[in-house]
Structure formats: structure tokens, C-alpha cells
């Protein structure tokens, strides 16, 4: 497990600068928010996600996470059609804090444009990028 300061940045994932991770699963991808993001938000108490069959667009908001204090947009790392929604995190938003890379996943999508992955960071790039983030 690679840790930058206090935040875990697991290998085998690619990352967006909007604090999301992307995991390739065959022709589909699973997405979620990073450990750094959940630590910044602290106690996540509400998650709003789109429905199966909806489409999302790279760099555009597709949902919302709320902590006690703040509302943050979820910004799509890739474009595609939603195949699965993690309904468990809607009932238990704390899963995003407890396990952001596994149980706290958000969506599985069928990407519509593989070229878009060029806009994301691979693991070494993500590690470097995390080094520049403030801990506050």
C-alpha cells in the first residue's frame, strides 16, 4: 500500500484530479472517491447518485456527497453509461470514510470513450500529485 502523507493511494488504479479513482474491470470500470477526498470531507452523512442506465460525462458533476458541514460535487472521471450503483453507500454513507477503495465504491460504468483515460493520472503520476496536496 502506497501512502502519501496520510492518504492511501493504492496501485492498480488510475486517478482524476477531482479526487476520484477508476478501476478497470474488463470492459467496464468501477469508480469511487479517494482516501484523500474522504479524509478532507470527514464524516460523510449523505450520498446522492444517479440511477442505472443514466449516462455521466467526464469532468461533469454526476452526484453529491455531503459531510455534516459541506456539500461537494462528485465529478465524473470518465464518460459512460451506468451499469451498477452502490445502493449500500446510500444507506451507509460512512462506508466512504471507512473503505473508500472497496466497500465505498460508487458506480460501475461502461465507458463510452476509452481515449478519455489519457486525461487521467496513472499510479506514479497520482503519487506525485498527492505530494503536492495540502494536508489541511
Amino acid at each position: 500500500m502506497v501512502k502519501v502523507k496520510d492518504a492511501e493511494v493504492p496501485e492498480g488504479l488510475i486517478y482524476s484530479k477531482d479526487f476520484e479513482w477508476v478501476k478497470a474491470e474488463g470492459a467496464k470500470v468501477r469508480i469511487g472517491i479517494t482516501d484523500y477526498a474522504q479524509k478532507q470531507l470527514r464524516e460523510i452523512v449523505y450520498v446522492e447518485l444517479p440511477a442505472e442506465g443514466d449516462t455521466i460525462t467526464q469532468n461533469e458533476p454526476y452526484g453529491t456527497v455531503e459531510s455534516v458541514k459541506a456539500v461537494s460535487d462528485l465529478v465524473a472521471p470518465l464518460s459512460g453509461t451506468i451499469e451498477q450503483v452502490n445502493t449500500e453507500v446510500q444507506d451507509k454513507p460512512e462506508l466512504l470514510n471507512e473503505d473508500p477503495y472497496n466497500k465505498g465504491w460508487l458506480l460501475v460504468i461502461a465507458p463510452s470513450n476509452m481515449e478519455e483515460q489519457k486525461n487521467l493520472m496513472d499510479h506514479p503520476q497520482a503519487v506525485e500529485w498527492h505530494k503536492g496536496l495540502s494536508e489541511d
Binding site: 470527514r42 464524516e43 453529491t64 455534516v68
Partner: protein, 377 residues
Amino acid sequence: MGNHKNRTHLHAFHVKNGKMISFAGFEMPIWYKGIIPEHLAVRNSIGIFDVGHMGRAVITGPEAEEFLNFVTTNNVSTLEPFSAQYSTICNKRGGIKDDFVLSQQERGNFFMVYNAANRKKNYQWLTKNATRFKVEIEDLSDNISMFAVQGPRAQETLQKITTEDLGKIERFKCGWIKLAGLKTFISRTGYTGEDGYEIFIWDTPVSASEKAEKAWNAIIKAGKEFHIEPCGLGARDTLRLEAGMCLYGNDLDENTTPLEARIGFVVKFQKEEFIGKEALQKQKVEGIKKKRIGLKMLDTGIPRPKHEISKKGEKIGYVTSGTFSPLLRQGIAMAYIHPESAVTDNTLLVKIRDKHVRAEITRFPFYDPDRYGYKRK
């Protein structure tokens, strides 16, 4: 206040243990462990807050009482020595310039604790309106430390570090008490809905904060057996909101009167003269155009300030404070609506982003007062 960020007495502690934010010109902790555990520590046991950002002024002189009766809305003549009252300062239109707690120490020595964001505005307003009175107003904000110790275990905790009987100081009473060997002024007041105290140490500038640190550490040590938590501004906000208490700038402002805010008990019309009296009297006769209400969400979603409130497709108001309630584990809010729009049934819609979600009008406090808060059984 200069351009630099002001600091409070416990700045070093906050930086070491908490997450800092900027608030009303101050560097303040928003949380240490997190809003939810800090909030629950206060509801269930005890928490301590550094609230040194608040404004603190001493008002003395032979006409201090007359002056305060003129400039504030509550009746200062009924305020006994070593007692405190909640009150407001209004403008000529009856709009609230600030809300605060005024206490009287020895007869004729008044002590006002007001909002950090209004420090400058209040001092200027007080000074400007004091010209025809024999009165002295001294802003001691930076020379008196201020903590709040709140929760059902507050009395038990502080009793461990004083030889005086704290039971003698009832709610909204105050007094000089030697605490941890230090001369302190304590007031049984707070901003959480719980029993508790606000503790002041005179002659303690931020630049020489040893006395404040000593008291803070002694309280944390004494509260250890009750799992005391240092609490940040985040929990302070959720606690006051659950208790139904207003936050200036959100729920109160210069275009809102105490009658609209439903804190009319701070306006004493029997007084001969006070700033805003005419406008407020007129409003009392003619009726209010908006009123403050509490909202509890019936559907999922967290209401936030500025969210629109509607009923039968018609916009009837807006949210002024909203959060996730750590105790009730649901969205709660304060809002202003047209007074006529909630006569028959209590269900409304709150527009959260693109969705209209159901909420019901609820009385304050949001929690069950038999189980939580200073009136708990």
C-alpha cells in the same frame, strides 16, 4: 483587527490537535476528532470550546443601566447583580444588529458577550449612542479569555477544581469563582441547549495566555473520567441548531426583527424608550410578514442555507441554517416562511438542488427535551 488573522488564547492547542478554518477574521478550529463525536460528547457528557473569538465589552458608569435600557431591547432594570439575560440590539427599523448575553456583575458593572463578526460594528454603535449618557464602554475582547464547558457532566467536572459550591450558580446566574487556583468569572449559560458554563479570565491577553492554558488543561484533566472532548466550531453550530438557537448572519440580521425571529421575549415594550421600539410596536400591531420555523426532513436530504421552501407550487420561504443532526441522524433546518402559509398542515417542500423533498414544521428544540438539554429529566 488588522488584515492578519486573529488568534485566540488556545491557538497552539488548536493547531496541534484540530483542523483550522478562518471564521469572522479568526483562525479557529472547526473540529478535532470530527463534528459528530464532539457533538455527541456534549449531548451525552461534556465538551469544552475555546470561544475567544467572541466580542466582550464592559459597560460601567452611573448611567450604565439607563444607557443599556435605551440601546438594547430587553429590560436591564430587572437584571439582578450576578445574573445574565439574552437580548438584542436593534436598529431604528427594529432589525437586529446583534444578539448577545448581557450580565451584571457587581451592581452597575455590565458585561456584554456578542458575536465575533459584530465586534467592531457593536462597539461603534454602542459608543455612538452613548454620548448623552454618563457611561464608559471598554472593549476587552482581547484581554479576557473565554471558554464554554457544556454538557450534563459540566457541573460535576468543574466542581472537582473548585472549593466553592457551583450548585449555588443557577441557570442564567453568574459569579466570581476560583477555578484551578485562578480567579474566573463564570456564567451558567451557553450555546448548545445543554447545562454548562461560560468561563472568563480577566487580564489575560492573547499574547500572554498562560492563565487560559492552565484553566483549559485543568478542565480537560478533570473531565477525563467523563471522556471530555475539545470541540470546534462545527459541533458548536450543530449543537446550537439542534437546540433551536439562532446564529447571527444566518438566522438573524438587520432586516429581521426579534418578533419575526420568534425571540419576542427579548423585547420589553413596557420600557419607556429604546432604539427600534416604534417600529417593533407597529409590527406587533400590524403583524409579521415572515416567521422563523424549525424543519425536520421527512425524506432524505440535508437542507442548507438559501434552499427554497414551497407549498402547493408556491414559494413561501427559504432556509437560513441547515445541517445533518448528529443526534437525530437526519436533516434539520431553520427557515423563514410567510406566517399564513403553515396554518392548516405542517408539511412543506424544500428544494435541494433539483429535487423537492418533504419536510415538516417542528418545534424547538429539535431533540426530546425530556431526554436531552438542560431541562432533561
